[in-house]
């Protein structure tokens, strides 16, 4: 076992992990932060996206031990301090950017990473950035609309292609 210490959503946490413990397993099983989902476990679907030192990563494709000393942000830390939805989360609700909700934690974390680096993305850039996040319900259009709305831009009425 290896002792790991990291900061998760602003709080210092530590635990003993096996070498092959994935970051997502540490978050879900050790810290009981089950908002981060495991969809495919093959690093394709993006339901497990969290931020490590500010960068979006797939937490099913990183070991907990690799996050030693890192700042980790998960969906649980996204709401405003008073518990209300943040801008991106509220936009997902307003624009029906989710149906079953399974992909939503990853979608919101990817959207947050995109808007941090590129506060006014084009619709094309939003679509390109979501390449690694798969949604089987919405057809993506309302997710793209939600992210455009969250960035304070005009929301496309019907998705183009």
């Amino acid at each position: 076992m290896t002792k790991v210490t990291m900061t998760v959503n602003g709080k210092s946490v530590s635990g003993d992990v096996a070498g092959n413990t994935l970051l997502v397993e540490f978050l879900r099983s050790d810290l009981h932060l089950t908002g981060t989902h495991v969809g495919c476990d093959t690093s394709q679907c993006g339901a497990c996206v969290v931020h490590v030192n500010g960068a979006a990563v797939k937490s099913c494709t990183m070991f907990a031990a690799e996050a030693e000393g890192a700042e980790v942000a998960t969906i649980e830390g996204q709401a405003n301090a008073d518990g209300s939805l943040n801008t991106i989360q509220q936009a997902f609700q307003d624009y029906h950017g989710l149906q079953c909700g399974f992909c939503t934690p990853g979608m919101v974390m990817s959207a947050a990473a995109l808007l941090k680096d590129n506060p006014k993305p084009s619709e094309q850039e939003v679509r390109a950035y979501l390449q690694g996040n798969i949604c089987r319900c919405t057809g993506y259009h309302n997710i793209v609309r939600a992210i455009m709305a969250a960035s304070g831009q005009e929301v496309p009425a019907v998705a183009a292609e």
Partner: protein, 262 residues
């Protein structure tokens, strides 16, 4: 996954010491190795994680040589070479997806030498030099077939040196589910030569299309490629495409890369 120990050295020297163990395996960004471990296709008893080693990261330019640390991620390369070497930035910016690019590294990709990886095409076209902890290896000598390289056990890619071309472009035809190239071609134009590196196509792994290099060296235009083709013999044939189809794509991707680089 089978169980294993994991070490996280912070210096190259410590990583090399840890890799002296026969059963140890280096872990770069893990974007290929971790899925491989999950499928139980590899069973190292110890992983030596390279992502905490700062001396392996970063990009610097000295004259016309761009040196990229082996532990530099695709995302960093995409951002930081966009002005100086846009062909390479374009390649890096289309690997996987954003989250994969934030972890995967150029050293890891070159060490793995997947027959459909993108960087090997650039390394071959540019005549890059693979720098390890013990030596420098020319790209032509480094790639030795699918998943095979000149690296010795326990050797780590510390950097890759690219001679920066006058112009360059990488075009790939993606398999839409995996986004790995069915065929990808990197074209690099220098004052005195043109390099054409082809990935994804051959059963022998990445190769230089030397006939196209010679033709383009005299006339860097799509028209110079008229009448040139590669044989489907020895090309990868699978459920995504036959060898003849991939051979055809080599010509098409090369023409598109020349058009994009001009």
């Amino acid at each position: 996954m089978y169980s294993f120990d994991i070490e996280r050295p912070t210096t190259l020297a410590d990583a090399l010491a840890a890799l002296a163990d026969d059963e140890a395996q280096a872990l770069g960004g893990g974007q290929t190795l971790i899925p491989t471990l999950k499928q139980r296709l590899a069973s190292p008893s110890k992983l030596v994680c390279l992502s905490g080693i700062e001396e392996l990261k970063g990009i610097s330019r000295d004259g016309d040589t761009l040196t990229i640390g082996g532990g530099t991620t695709h995302g960093t390369i995409a951002r930081e070479t966009a002005e100086g070497f846009p062909g390479l930035a374009g390649l890096a910016s289309k690997i996987g997806d954003p989250a994969v690019r934030n972890r995967g590294t150029i050293g890891g990709s070159l060490a793995n030498n997947d027959p459909s990886a993108c960087y090997p095409a650039a390394a071959m076209a540019c005549g890059a030099t693979i720098v390890t902890n013990s030596r420098e290896i020319a790209a032509d000598d480094y790639f030795q077939g699918m998943f095979a390289t000149a690296l010795e056990e326990g050797e780590i890619i510390t950097a890759v040196k690219f001679p920066v071309p006058e112009s360059s472009a990488y075009i790939k035809f993606e398999q839409p589910a995996s986004r790995f190239p069915l065929v990808g071609v990197f074209v690099a134009k220098y004052a005195d030569r043109v390099g054409v590196g082809v990935t994804g196509a051959s059963e022998e792994g990445v190769f230089r299309w030397t006939e196209a290099e010679a033709a383009l060296g005299g006339n860097f235009a799509e028209s110079a490629l008229e009448g040139l083709s590669v044989s489907g013999d020895g090309m990868i044939g699978d459920l995504h495409g036959t060898g003849a189809y991939r051979a055809h794509l080599v010509g098409v991707m090369t023409r598109r890369a020349v058009a994009a680089a001009r």
